[in-house]
Amino acid sequence: MNGLIFQDIHALAAGLRRKDFSALELVRAHIDRIRSCEDTISALITRTEELALSRAAAADARLAGGDAPLLCGIPFVLKDNICTEGIPTTCASRMLADYIPPYSATVYARLQAAGAVLLGKGNMDEFSMGSSTENSAFYPTRNPLDISRVPGGSSGGPAAAVAAYEVPFALGSDTGGSIRQPAAFCGLVGMKPTYGTVSRHGLVAFASSLDQIGPLTRTVQDNAAVLSCISAPDGRDATANRTFAAAKDLFSGDIRGISVGLLRFPGDAADPAIRAAVESVAAVLADRGAQVREVRLPALSDALPAYYILSSAEASANLARYDGVRYGARAEGAASPDELFCSTRSTYFGPEVRRRILLGTYALSAGHRDAFYLRAQSAARRIRAAFAEIFATCDCLLCPTTPTVAFPAGEKSDPVSMYRGDLFTVPASLAGIPALSLPCGTADGLPVAAQLMAAEGNDGLLYRLAAAIEEVRI
């Protein structure tokens, strides 16, 4: 059964239906893998082996019945900021170390309804704030491709779990690149769908207007299948008003006539090897009939500061509820409510979370609001307008996902240098448009990734192009 863990979702689904193996065997194989890998990788915060075994048995019964959904019996991991009723959901924070949600996120409910089997909750940067998973309050996660390096973040645990073959897919969340960047560092396909494609109900909020859940997989087709399963309008999330459904011919490889803009960033700081790999992707696309040209978007020069101001401002409100009163950690010995709030929050939030809360609070404060929050908002509007303009003449944009390959653990101790790594990913977040990262080569033996972006709602186009690129296996 050892070979099982290396198969993709579609192959596993076929095997289950041919009765080559059972869902129970499939889940056991992955549990074994987790047991052998976790000491090294530390991708998971919580493991749900017992629950998984009973779910696997139920999946087998359903598969025997005939008309089981594609994901029935397929193991997966959720980032630990996605609420799972009865199962700890910590956001990798001491604040929520013992928090067990009284309800489940819509995405978890949809995956359960499809018969998929949860194997654990993935490690992350605390409250998704970080790009290396080193900000987890519990332990850092290692990159399975080179354990001296970070897996990226903030969805580093889910990415590492998929890259280490602990599971065939995982769900992460992306606010400014938190799915795409770890996908890039771990050699995976990572998708941030159009804002509103996946319900955020049950996703612990970081920056509500930017947060979006998406799949991390080893293949493009798997990624589209998982997104199809989790995407639907949701009455419990007023912003979830779109549905992604994979079109039949999405993976035909036919991309003739699609116009692709090779996006030159203002102050493009990508490593030469990454630039070269992305250019070779452009060449492949042109070769297969796409129309490729270079484009520039000067408005993007404000994207990074605008992102850090807006996301921190929203975070300062979203994380204010962790006050020690109703749930989560509580500091002892406080003499007044204000003291309780201060000591709880100072004690149980990590340094990066505290930094962002302070940054966001400052940006919204009277006297600073105009210079920071409102200015960042207008920069975001300009970026959205610039994308709208470019997508009037161009179907898709191509650029690197990250300026570097996975960096060594402990290398970036300066927060601003860490923030700079998000240069390529934050524009799509601010614009709410879909963006997909996929491997497009290697540099120094580590994966290099290309990012594709399209107009909002054009998620399918990204899969179509990504499938064509994947086929060539650069």
């Binding site: 049950g202 909020a205 419990r236 999330d237 912003t239 204010a320 404060s365």
Partner: protein
């Protein structure tokens, strides 16, 4: 020096929706503590608000009824502050783009009618309640997420009486709409008073204070009276009024500093990203306007035109159920004044509870009023019939016929009876003729008694007088 008091109000009214503003929890008053809560209103991680459409409808109706313009685009904002009764540590409210703008209500004052401007009405969620007991503080989150509207007036009022009149008019209006119970004792209507004083004749506003959370008419008036005196005393003594938030002490009738404005929180408002902006089309707004009932001000004008005294007009319009009942009776009969008299004298006192409830069909009351109005029965029979209807339904005209309750107007028959009474009461007659005029009433009563109360009263009186003179 003479001072003028300038008053603006911020009134919070709880909307009478069955469920909360952002979740489906119930909003019943007096439910066991923390029994009407869920992950959403407790602010659990990952939960999201869903705006209750009824809240928008109710708030827009309140806006229309107070003459406001309903914004086609409005937006929810987050108001950030830490307090143990506020689960998310922000209140979802409306800051820059409220739902309703620029209206007002006309109130009656000593100097006649006065228009008080409403600057805005916005929607927001209520917070929970802290209970301090035995050195512990406990929190009850039932109220969290209960929908509120906040009505903000311009500083247009000049006395406690005017402020009271505004709150009263607003309360009556909201009750007419059915959008709020406005029960002050239950906290479903609360009032913050912004108050300043200035030398009479001055055009410049003085420094103001804000008195928080007044929940009765009496407290509103007392707080204003105390606070305007306090500020006037400060100015008279050459001091300056500090801008601050004050609390009213119900026991002593005085106000005390709660916090100074300088140290007040910076709420760091920003647009609520979890709720898309509210967009109402002109057609939506027209549809809501079509649902508005005739408002108390219009009804008062109509009743006054019928010739009712102001006191009766006030009573008839204060409660919409009473007014609706009266209107149905008016539509069914010909005699508004008798109908109103019977309603106010016989039924109003029998109806228990906050709003008028009556087992008698309004058409029946109209029928009784018509019988009296056209002279078929006299006033005392009409009252008896009305009272009997409360006990059980019958057809008044038919009962009058069957039981012979009709008024006796036959002079000959009346005279015959009167003469018999005179014979039986010879002593009384001689007393009257000897000058004891006060006994006439008793004599008339005896005569009326002989006809079982059915004699036409004026005719009976005249005949008795004439007979006495003989």
């Amino acid at each position: 020096m003479n001072f003028e008091t300038v008053i603006g109000l911020e009134i919070h009214a709880e909307l009478a929706t069955k469920s909360k503003i952002f979740c489906s929890c119930r909003t019943d008053f007096g439910a066991p503590r923390n029994s009407q809560v869920c992950p959403v209103c407790l602010g659990h991680p990952g939960t999201l608000p869903r705006l209750n459409r009824k809240v928008v409808e109710y708030a827009a109706m309140a806006g229309l009824a107070t003459g406001c313009r309903i914004a086609e685009f409005s937006r929810m904002d987050r108001k950030n502050y830490f307090y143990p009764d506020l689960p998310k540590a922000y209140q979802i409210s409306q800051d820059a783009h409220p739902l309703c703008l620029d209206g007002g209500l006309t109130i009656d004052t000593e100097d006649g009618e006065k228009f008080v401007r409403v600057e805005r009405i916005h929607i927001e969620e209520d917070a929970g309640k802290l209970i301090h007991a035995q050195g512990e503080t406990l929190a009850d989150y039932n109220r969290c997420g209960v929908p509120l509207i906040e009505v903000v007036t311009a500083p247009d009022m000049r006395s406690a009486a005017e402020a009271r009149a505004f709150v009263s008019e607003l309360r009556t209006t909201l009750r007419y709409l059915g959008v709020s119970d406005c029960r002050m004792q239950e906290g479903s209507l609360r009032c913050d008073v912004n108050i300043s004083v200035r030398p009479a004749g001055s055009a410049k506003l003085g420094e103001r204070t804000e008195i928080k959370n007044l929940n009765s008419f009496q407290f509103i008036e007392k707080a204003i009276e105390y606070e305007s005196r306090r500020q006037a005393d400060i100015l008279t003594a050459g001091g300056t009024v500090r801008r601050e938030t004050r609390r009213f002490d119900e026991q002593t009738g005085t106000t005390h500093t709660l916090r100074e404005k300088e140290t007040a929180a910076d709420y760091r408002f920003f647009p609520e990203p979890d709720i898309p902006p509210l967009r109402l089309t002109p057609a939506d707004i027209e549809a809501l306007a079509a649902r508005l009932p005739e408002l108390p001000a219009a009804r008062r004008k109509r009743y006054a035109a019928l010739g009712f005294p102001p006191a009766d007009v006030h009573i008839l319009t204060e409660d919409r159920a009473l007014s609706d009942y009266f209107d149905r009776a008016l539509a069914a009969g010909q005699h508004p004044k008798i109908t109103a008299n019977l309603l106010l004298s016989e039924y109003l006192r029998l109806s228990e509870g906050e709003s008028f409830v009556c087992p008698v069909a309004p058409e029946r009351l109209a029928a009784v009023a018509d019988l009296a109005g056209e002279g078929t029965v006299n006033a005392s029979t009409a009252k008896k019939l009305a009272a009997r209807l409360w006990e059980g339904d019958f057809d008044p005209a038919e009962t009058v016929r069957r039981e012979g309750l009709g008024q006796i107007c036959d002079e000959a028959a009346l005279l015959e009876g009167i003469r018999a009474v005179f014979c039986e009461n010879a002593a009384l007659i001689s007393q009257i003729r000897a000058g004891k005029a006060a006994a006439v009433k008793a004599l008339v009563g005896k005569c009326m008694g002989r006809f079982g109360g059915r004699a036409e009263p004026r005719l009976l009186n005249r005949l008795v007088e004439e007979e006495l003179k003989k």
